[in-house]
């Protein structure tokens, strides 16, 4: 007979607050999330049109997971599952060294880590195509037991493997099975999961035709959804706007903004954090 682990909310609260969330280096973004960053054990979905900074944010998070414990970070490793070959190691190196430099300047002493060691803390997987992706997801629990210090899993992007060769029903079934497995691992090992997703068009929808891809059922699955976009008109090429569409924690920012224009007030103003400025800048110019 299987026994079920039933915990009360007090125990869960202690567990949830025992470890810090993965900060993004952008204070306004972290504040908006209500948990000072990307919460461990949760699945966060990043939505946005091409060029809105989804991949950049993923890379940034892979770097910020390494923030040393002295600075309230996790000092942990990251797993990057690349499904659309958007990843470039040179970009990541830039982001990483900028982040580490920032940590150094706050701590006011040199970090005890070389660049090589820091780069070693990123585990990169190129899962191109549905078969490779599924095969890797199947082996994920083994990977996590072998690398217990992984605290962030980034999948960029979740929609890409499912673009072709699978019927809609099968896709939903498979996705939900995979996400259940993924979240089980995330909750047990306290890992933050970040997925990026593309936008798609549905003609005739009341609330606007451009919605996140993978359908309405999928929208229900993730715990936190963030919509990234380039502000209009752009005063600063490097600036990106983040809108919290759904969250299980921060009810306030769901409520705070009256309309789309005021929602923009909740900007992920990149200039707040020196590191993320650079990141967004290069992307915008290239």
């Amino acid at each position: 007979m299987k026994t079920f682990k039933i915990s009360n909310a007090t125990e869960l609260w202690q567990r949830e607050t025992s470890l810090p969330a993965v900060a993004s280096f952008s204070q306004s973004l972290d504040n908006m999330l209500g948990t000072e960053g990307f919460q461990l054990g949760c699945i966060t979905e990043l939505l946005g049109l091409p060029g809105s900074g989804k991949t950049q944010l993923c890379l940034q998070l892979c770097a910020s997971v390494q923030i040393p414990k002295e600075l309230g970070g996790l000092n942990a490793e990251a797993l990057y599952i690349d499904t659309n070959t958007n990843f470039t190691i040179s970009r990541f190196r830039e982001i990483l060294s900028a982040s580490l430099l920032k940590c150094q300047s706050i701590l006011d002493k040199p970090l005890q880590i070389t660049e090589e060691e820091a780069l070693n803390k990123l585990h990169y997987v190129n899962a191109f195509g549905l078969e490779k992706f599924c095969a890797f997801m199947y082996r994920l629990s083994k990977f996590i037991t072998e690398h217990p210090n992984v605290r962030l899993i980034a999948i960029d992007s979740i929609a890409f493997p499912f673009k072709d060769g699978i019927s809609t029903n099968q896709r939903t079934g498979l996705l939900f099975r995979q996400m259940a497995e993924l979240q089980k691992i995330a909750v047990q090992h306290q890992i933050a999961v970040v997925l990026s997703n593309e936008m798609s068009t549905r003609v005739g929808l009341q609330g606007g035709a451009v919605v996140g891809s993978l359908g309405d059922a999928w929208a229900h699955r993730c715990n936190v959804r963030i919509l990234l976009s380039t502000p209009h008109p752009a005063q600063d090429q490097r600036e990106r706007v983040a809108l919290l569409m759904k969250s299980n924690v921060a009810a306030t920012s769901v409520a705070r903004f009256q309309d789309q224009r005021e929602r923009v007030a909740l900007l992920m103003k990149s200039n707040v954090a020196a590191t993320s400025v650079a990141r967004f800048q290069v992307r915008a110019l290239s």
Binding site: M1, K2, F4, K5, I6, S7, N8, A9, T10, L12, W13, R15, E16, T17, T35, Q39, G41, C42, I43, S167, N169, Q170, R171, T172, G173, L174, F176, R177, M179, A180, Q183, K184, A186, V187, R202, V203, G204, L205, Q206, G215, D216, A217, A219, H220, R221, N223, R225, M245, K246, N248, V249, A251, T252, V254, A255, R256, F257, Q258, D259, E262
Partner: protein
């Protein structure tokens, strides 16, 4: 089908059970279907004795008769609704969430279903002092959020701890696990004291895992789950809430504005009609006794307080229809009021 052996039937001895088994009569059904005289010969029992055994089986397994007075006393002695703690919601639901029934809360993604279920759990513990079981199927239970809601309502740390202690959370990842959980609740191998409410957030998350399968596994599991839920709800006087989602369809309707038979094609205008439907299919549609539909209504932003308005409509209910079956709730940092 149940085995004969385990039934402890009056006159059937071990040796005659063995003889029956040798003749391929192992289950109750086999026994009932077999010719009486043959059974008599095999077991060396007289015909009236065999008939007595048959009658024993029938009385044991037929649905029991209860008279109206008994039924009423049972319902009368225990409460029939659990107050939601939200006044306007209590009015439209005629007193709250029905006990001994299955309730469904549905709505599009991001419509505040999870937030409402947090609030229901908190209010149930706070007002009634009962225990709530929160079945979390997508890692959505946030103890931090619950603590914040209690904190903004001005509870002391001690009260917060005692309220949160009574919210029990279990993580379930597959349909099979959920059925197993309900089974152990039913068999009392898993006992939660003073349990008043079970919230399953959310069912489609588990059911969608079976989407695209050729077999009907998902449906049969759902059926078993519904049976267990009904049994548990009745036996332990528990209210069971399932969270369901909505999806949107878009129909492309061609409407003829001028249909005079000549210039139809020129005046055709295509309109899109958005339709929403509850998930989980036709079978589930009629299972819940109370269905609440949540819609995000309007965001209100003021300096002093900002909140989101959520429109709740009662789609179907076992109680007498109220005049208005809709109300507006307020979702803010305090929770839902």
């Amino acid at each position: 089908m149940q085995k004969l052996k385990s039934q402890n039937l009056g006159n059937l001895s071990e040796s005659s059970l063995k003889t029956l088994a040798q003749n391929r009569i192992t289950t109750i059904l086999d026994f009932l279907e077999e010719d009486v005289s043959k059974l008599s010969a095999l077991t060396k029992l007289s015909l009236p004795q065999i008939l007595a055994i048959r009658n024993e089986i029938f009385t044991k397994y037929s649905a029991p008769l209860i008279n109206g007075t008994d039924l009423f006393t049972k319902v009368f002695k225990t409460r029939s609704r659990i107050s939601t703690g939200i006044e306007s919601l209590d009015v439209v639901t005629t007193g709250g969430i029905p006990v001994r029934c299955i309730t469904e809360i549905c709505g599009l993604a991001e419509s505040g279903k999870t937030q409402l279920s947090f609030q229901l759990a908190i209010n149930c513990v706070k007002d009634e002092g009962c225990t709530v079981l929160y079945v979390d199927t997508k890692g959505d239970f946030s103890a931090v959020r619950v603590q914040k809601m209690l904190d903004t309502q001005g509870y002391s740390h001690k009260d917060m701890a005692s309220i949160m202690y009574k919210i029990r959370v279990v993580h379930i990842w597959t349909m099979e696990e959920l059925v197993e959980l309900f089974k152990s609740l039913k068999n009392k191998t898993l006992i939660i004291e003073n349990l008043a409410m079970i919230i399953v957030d959310s069912l489609p998350c588990l059911m969608f895992q079976h989407l695209g399968d050729d077999n009907k596994m998902g449906l049969s599991l759902l059926n078993v789950l519904v049976n267990y839920s009904r049994y548990i709800a009745n036996e332990f006087d528990v209210a069971i809430i399932y969270i369901n989602i909505q999806t949107r369809w878009i129909d492309n309707d061609i409407s003829d504005i001028e249909d005079d038979g000549e210039s139809t094609s020129a005046f055709r205008e295509s309109t899109y009609i958005e339709k929403r439907n509850r998930c989980l299919g036709r079978y589930w549609e009629h299972i819940p006794t109370l269905v609440l539909l949540l819609e995000k209504h309007e965001d209100v932003y003021r300096e002093s307080d900002s909140y989101t308005q959520i429109k709740v409509s009662v789609l179907s209910s076992n109680a007498v229809k109220n005049e208005n079956s809709q109300c507006i709730l307020k979702l803010s940092s305090v929770g839902i009021t």
